[in-house]
């Protein structure tokens, strides 16, 4: 109380808040008791490597190796200029720790899943749950121990299939299934073994009109099951992206048709529709409040999972989510700003920070409606491109921790352009912007347009819209911002009734998904791009199985997209930072391919 009164905050608020809070605290606290491992001793052997332009990061990983854990610290240090020094410290293992069973992981999301049918939505509100209960035929290698992929590697990894082959035509994919995989012990499956027919029917369901992902699996000709443990997919043309689609973290979940039929019209309505082969079983739903999952004792990958339960809490308000993390009620929290991170670290000094050197796989940006004649003048679009200051976004909004993006985002390693080139393509040059605007025949204040933003969705996009508005007005554009609720905004964009919009454009781990937004008739071609060169690149890259050659095509597309300011001025991406409670072990950062850490690998140090 003394400390409280000593603060410089206004007395009035202090009295009010203190009264309320003291009364509440009198009811008793519920904060979970953290277990902090204090006896770690780290022996460091510094080794210095100089690399160019790397972001500042510190990654701390606890790596259990049988009965001992290697504590490894990788630290990169920022240098203000172009070259950044990376210091890698190798650490001698001194901590003996073993994964232990038990514990309840608490996570938070902003809203209930709209449905519990894995093939009826791509909202992460549902995929957060589905990856607990379901599997895919193949998946991406996890960032968590023992797989330890690097962020953005996107290495295919066995899931329900233990191996796979592609024939020489690139159209026939054979998957060899694991034996002994059991469906959840729920009616009518009662824990029976999964077989190739189940996989065939699941893919059939994904491909039907009722599936949200039917378009994603266009090209699937047939699925054969030569035996109980082999599935053969045939597609109508070679597609470099096909395996990505089979491994997709939003679409490719294997449901059981027998169970779907058993539930009938009720399938997807409630949480009890989530019956699969995954590491957790659905247990209880309290809509609007909490969804509970319990350990699947028959999970095919033993000894996982370690946790007894996973609880997904519904907390719509970000402040409330932050408070829940600070009061130790949830185990993960992703602060939006550097100052939020610092504030939480001061309150909880033991908290762990995970961050990526890679970036989000979503392209967001300022999109033009190219159907409007005023945006068909390339000089005007280029003026916009030169007018916007991406460095300011990185500095002011991302606290200096971000990267430039192109039409193919930086997270898609091997397909995106290097940062140096992106900086020159999206350079900030207000004088050039003014000149281009004048060349297009517009004086100061003569070119008016509106930026639509979505409320209740991405705060970054709303903030960036305001920054873009200031940049553009400084060079002579007359810009207004029109914030609309997200549902209304999406509808307006799809119907084409907008001028420009600041919003996410594409998301995915595969360039095909990005390019879908630039091809005439493409499902996400919100900007109404119709450019024969882009269409040709799209076709060329989709049959190119050589990753380097495919990367070259896509890089050429990104260059063209930037030079022409074709449809979108991409936002820079922030480095993702995630806070984890100190006793949570082996929690990998969410990869570009998955929204959440692999819960099956997590254990608590208690």
């Amino acid at each position: 109380m003394i400390k409280l009164l000593r603060t410089s905050r206004g007395f009035l608020f202090t009295a009010l808040a203190a009264g309320l809070l003291l009364a509440t605290v009198a009811c008793g606290g519920t904060a979970a008791e953290p277990v902090i491992v204090r006896e770690e001793v780290i022996k460091e052997v510094p080794k210095e490597v100089v690399i160019e332009k790397e972001v500042v990061k510190e990654v701390v990983r606890d790596v259990p190796v049988e009965k001992e854990v290697v504590k490894e610290v990788v630290k990169e240090v920022a240098v203000p200029q172009e070259v950044v020094k990376e210091v890698v410290r190798e650490v001698t293992p001194t901590v003996i720790r073993q994964p232990v069973y038990g514990g309840t992981l608490a996570l938070a999301q902003r809203s209930d899943p709209p449905t519990f049918d894995p093939h009826a939505t791509s909202f992460s509100l549902l995929t957060n749950h589905v990856h607990l209960t379901h599997n895919r035929v193949i998946r991406y290698k996890s960032l968590a121990w023992p797989e330890e992929a690097r962020y953005g590697d996107l290495i295919f990894f066995p899931d329900l299939a233990e191996s796979w082959d592609i024939d020489e035509t690139g159209t026939v994919f054979t998957f060899h299934l694991r034996r002994g995989v059991k469906w959840h012990d729920k009616e009518p499956l009662n824990g029976r073994e999964m077989n190739s027919e189940d996989i065939k029917l699941a893919w059939k369901r994904m491909h039907e009109d009722s599936s949200r992902f039917a378009g994603f699996y266009d090209g699937l000709v047939s699925v054969e099951t030569p035996d109980q443990y082999t599935v053969v997919q045939t597609i109508d043309r070679p597609l470099a992206s096909w395996l990505y689609r089979v491994a997709d973290g939003e679409a490719a979940w294997i449901t059981n048709q027998e169970f779907v039929d058993h539930k009938g019209a009720d399938f997807g309505v409630a949480q009890d529709s989530l019956v699969g082969t995954g590491p957790f079983l659905y247990d209880r739903e309290d809509p609007g409040s909490r969804y509970t999952y319990v350990r699947n004792p028959d999970y095919f990958e033993q000894p996982y999972p370690y946790l007894d339960e996973v609880h997904w809490f519904i907390i719509p308000d970000r402040s409330a989510q932050e408070a829940a993390f600070v009061s130790r009620q949830i185990h993960f929290y992703e602060p939006r700003r550097a100052q939020d991170l610092e504030r939480i670290q001061q309150a909880l000094p033991d908290v762990k920070v995970r961050e990526t050197t890679g970036l989000a796989n979503t392209t967001s940006g300022l999109m033009f409606n190219l159907e409007l004649p005023k945006w068909q003048d390339m000089k005007v679009r280029q003026a916009v491109r030169y007018a916007v200051n991406n460095d300011r976004v990185i500095q002011d909004l991302y606290n200096g921790r971000g990267k430039y993006n192109a039409c193919i985002p930086s997270a898609l390693r091997g397909y995106s352009l290097e940062q140096d080139e992106l900086r020159s393509l999206y350079t900030y040059d207000p004088e050039r912007a003014k000149a281009l605007l004048a060349e297009a025949g517009y004086g100061p204040g003569e070119f008016k347009f509106e930026i639509m933003t979505f409320t209740g969705y991405s705060q970054d996009n709303q903030d960036i819209a305001v920054m873009r508005q200031a940049d553009l007005q400084a060079v002579g554009f007359d810009v207004s911002i029109n914030p609309v609720p997200v549902g209304e905004g999406r509808a307006t964009v799809i119907e084409g009734n907008f001028d420009t919009v600041q919003q996410p454009h594409s998301t995915g781990v595969e360039p095909d998904e990005m390019l879908g937004g630039y091809v005439p008739g493409g499902p996400r071609n919100f900007m109404r791009v119709d450019d024969p060169k882009v269409t040709a690149w799209m076709k060329e890259q989709e049959v190119e199985f050589d990753r380097d050659k495919r990367g070259a095509i896509l890089q050429e597309f990104s260059r063209y997209c930037a030079e022409q300011a074709l449809g979108i001025i991409p936002n820079p991406s922030r480095v993702v930072q995630q806070l984890v409670q100190s006793w949570v072990q082996n929690a990998a950062i969410a990869d570009v391919a998955s929204d959440e850490p692999d819960e099956k690998y997590i254990w608590f140090a208690r």
Binding site: L4, F13, L16, A17, L20, L21, A23, T24, V25, G29, T30, A31, S111, P114, S122, F123, D209, S210, R212, A214, G215, A251, V269, A270, D286, P287, G288, S289, R290, H311, F313, I314, I315, P316, D317, S319, A320, E322, A323, A324, V326, S327, Q329, I330, A347, T362, P485, G487, E488, R490, A491, T492, I494, E495, N497, T507, G508, G516, P523, R524
Partner: protein, 316 residues
């Protein structure tokens, strides 16, 4: 009296009809529908699939048909299913009602138990420093938006005490202690915010009544000051306060919508915000129906209560 009540109850139906019709019309003025609201930027939906979804949800029919079908369903006690989740909307509403009612009851108990004693005290101590302090405090409570107070209380509560209300709503009958921990702060914030108006109104009406002849007569009869206050002043002074309280119910509903969202309480208010964001017409309509009906019933009770507080009031 009975005739008056019957008349008021009958009047509710056209009022409710107007409210839901207006809501329906307003929701269709804004672009988009429940199908478009379900589409993320990563969608691969084909246009024909979207049409199929609209057909399944009945959104392909003319507006007047959609509305007539909804009304007809309501008359058959079938409010339909959520356009977004597919769950029966009545289930969602019935789950949410106890939470909102509990929040409103707690907040009103707190609000009245603060406002009336403080208002009376302030009137008795008119123009003393205590009166000034209480009036200033009440203005501050009025001026501070409840959502702002709520955010500050949550954040500073977490940072100063490493405490926040328990997450994951628990019904009172399952765990009363946890339930009270979850409801105390939101109720307090709504209650304090609402108590300011009532406190100021109580003060001014008590001051007015204190100057009436019958109060002087009561004192002249030798009644104690407490007896004068309780028996002669309070009963007469409370009528305008009750009117204010009845009128504040609509505002209270607005406040609870925001507070429920901030504190993660799955009440009717939060359900409304979700329904609006998702263009979920059927869920929104049933929630509006509930709120509209609730407000009218409370106003009716308030009107009827006048006859108890002031026997001169008669309805015919």
């Amino acid at each position: 009296m009975t005739g008056y009540i019957v008349q008021r109850v009958l009047l509710m139906f056209p009022t409710i009809f107007l409210v839901v019709t207006l809501t329906f019309a307003l929701m269709h003025i804004v672009p988009g529908d429940a199908v478009l609201a379900q589409i993320e930027e990563g969608t691969n939906l084909r246009p024909e699939q979207m049409e199929l979804m609209r057909e399944r949800l009945g959104l392909d029919k003319p507006l007047y048909v959609q509305y007539a079908e909804w009304l007809w369903g309501l008359l058959k006690f079938d409010a339909g299913v959520s356009l977004f989740t597919g769950r029966p909307v009545i289930d969602q509403l019935l789950r949410a009602i106890p939470i909102s009612i509990e929040l409103i009851i707690f907040s009103q108990i707190l609000s009245i138990s603060i406002a009336i004693p403080v208002g009376v005290f302030s009137a008795i101590k008119q123009d003393t420093w205590l009166d000034y302090l209480l009036r200033t405090t009440s203005i501050a409570m009025l001026a501070a938006p409840s959502f702002w107070i709520a955010t500050l209380v949550i954040i500073f509560g977490a940072y100063w005490f490493l405490w926040a209300p328990p997450i994951g709503y628990v019904p009172f009958w399952e765990d009363p202690i946890t339930n009270l921990k979850q409801l105390f702060l939101p109720s307090a914030i709504i209650g304090l915010n609402g108590s300011a108006t009532k406190m100021r109104m109580t003060r001014s009406t008590v001051l007015e009544v204190l100057r009436q002849d019958y109060v002087r007569t009561a004192r002249a009869k030798g009644l104690s000051e407490t007896m004068v206050l309780v028996r002669h002043v309070m009963k007469n002074a409370l009528i305008p306060v009750i009117t204010i309280w009845g009128a504040s119910i609509a505002g209270l509903v607005n406040g609870s919508i925001i507070i429920e969202n901030i504190f993660g309480l799955p009440g009717v208010g939060r359900s409304m915000i979700t329904a609006i964001n998702n263009s979920d017409m059927t869920q929104l309509q049933i929630n509006v129906l509930f709120y509209g009906f609730g407000i009218m019933v409370i106003n009716l009770i308030v009107d009827i209560s006048y006859t108890w507080f002031d026997p001169r009031v008669r309805y015919s």
